[in-house]
């Protein structure tokens, strides 16, 4: 899987370089290509960070689906928080529940945990193998399967297309 590591790390570095410079001047682009190649060959020819990632047009399309769904959930989360904070009285029912994920790759689990943290009312406290412990501000389900359905399924289905 050496070639895939190089391709992914090279494109991440190159996109960051182009965003920072915001120009298509040939000299700048050439320097960026050289530096990105050097860094990805030196540091990422054996790294395991990008192990389970899928490449291809379908994964590329699902990246945009993920971003859109994430923005929607972030806005929903903030309306939820604002409502809870600004209405008088405490209308919360906090609790810690357990959910189970099917994702295998570490990176996918990290992204899932991050997404859960930024979606309405839920917050990842602890990760133990394939089980996530979630602090839920309005506990709607205690059962593992029901809680997984309510908290993780939207993102898990998208991440399945992005990671093996």
């Amino acid at each position: 899987m050496k070639a895939k590591n190089l391709i992914v790390s090279f494109s991440v570095l190159m996109i960051a370089w182009l965003l920072l410079n915001w120009t298509l001047d040939p000299l700048i682009v050439a320097i960026g290509i050289g530096l990105s190649l050097l860094i990805s060959v030196l540091f990422c020819s054996k790294c395991t960070v990008f192990e389970g990632i899928k490449l291809g047009p379908k994964a590329f399309a699902y990246t945009f689906v993920y971003i859109l769904v994430f923005i929607r959930e972030l806005i929903k989360a903030n309306m939820d928080v604002t409502k809870r904070v600004l209405t008088p009285g405490l209308n919360i029912e906090p609790g810690i529940v357990k959910i189970k994920t099917n994702l295998k790759s570490k990176m996918a689990r990290l992204i899932l945990a991050n997404s859960i943290t930024l979606t309405p009312g839920t917050f990842t406290i602890h990760v133990e193998g394939e089980y996530f412990y979630i602090h839920w501000i309005s506990t709607e389900a205690v059962d593992i399967e029901e809680a997984t359905q309510k908290i993780a399924n939207t993102f898990e289905n998208i991440l399945k297309e992005l990671y093996e």
């Binding site: 960051a16 182009l18 965003l19 920072l20 410079n21 915001w22 120009t23 298509l24 972030l74 806005i75 989360a77 903030n78 928080v81 604002t82 809870r84 904070v85 600004l86 405490l90 919360i92 029912e93 906090p94 609790g95 810690i96 529940v97 357990k98 945990a113 991050n114 943290t117 930024l118 009312g121 917050f123 990842t124 406290i125 602890h126 133990e128 412990y133 602090h135 501000i137 506990t139 205690v142």
Partner: protein, 125 residues
């Protein structure tokens, strides 16, 4: 390009209102877990929204002239990666140092599992 400045200023105002909500939530919520939860969501959204407003204020032209869009996108990616992780570490440390949960708490599966030795509790040293 005054219309861009107006839209950007409104977005900056919206972002700071979100940060204000985070501050009020910190005072209002009963225990550390709910405080972290409210503060993380509102502050992430507030920061992202303010950065977008900044990019719109500084927008002159797509390629010629000053354009902060690329830098702002990189800032948003870093905020998206680091903010939930740091809050998660804060909350996890608070939990395993046994900060009390509020009386409203309905269920605590994590405590049940550590008590029944399903998982080992990290030592705090």
């Amino acid at each position: 390009m005054d219309i861009f400045k107006l839209i950007g200023a409104i977005m900056l105002l919206g972002g700071s209102l979100s940060l204000l909500v985070a501050a009020i939530g910190m005072l209002k919520m009963p225990d550390v877990y709910n405080r972290v939860q409210v503060a993380t969501k509102a502050s992430t959204f507030g920061a992202i929204f303010s950065f977008l407003g900044l990019a719109i204020i500084k927008f002159e032209h797509w390629f010629t002239g000053e354009n902060w869009l690329g830098r702002v996108i990189i800032l948003i990616i870093f905020i998206y990666i680091t903010n939930p992780v740091s809050s998660h570490v804060l909350m996890r440390a608070a939990y395993f140092m046994r900060f009390p949960l509020s009386k409203l708490t309905k269920t605590d599966v994590l405590r049940d599992d550590t008590n029944s030795n399903l998982l080992k509790e990290p030592k705090n040293e």
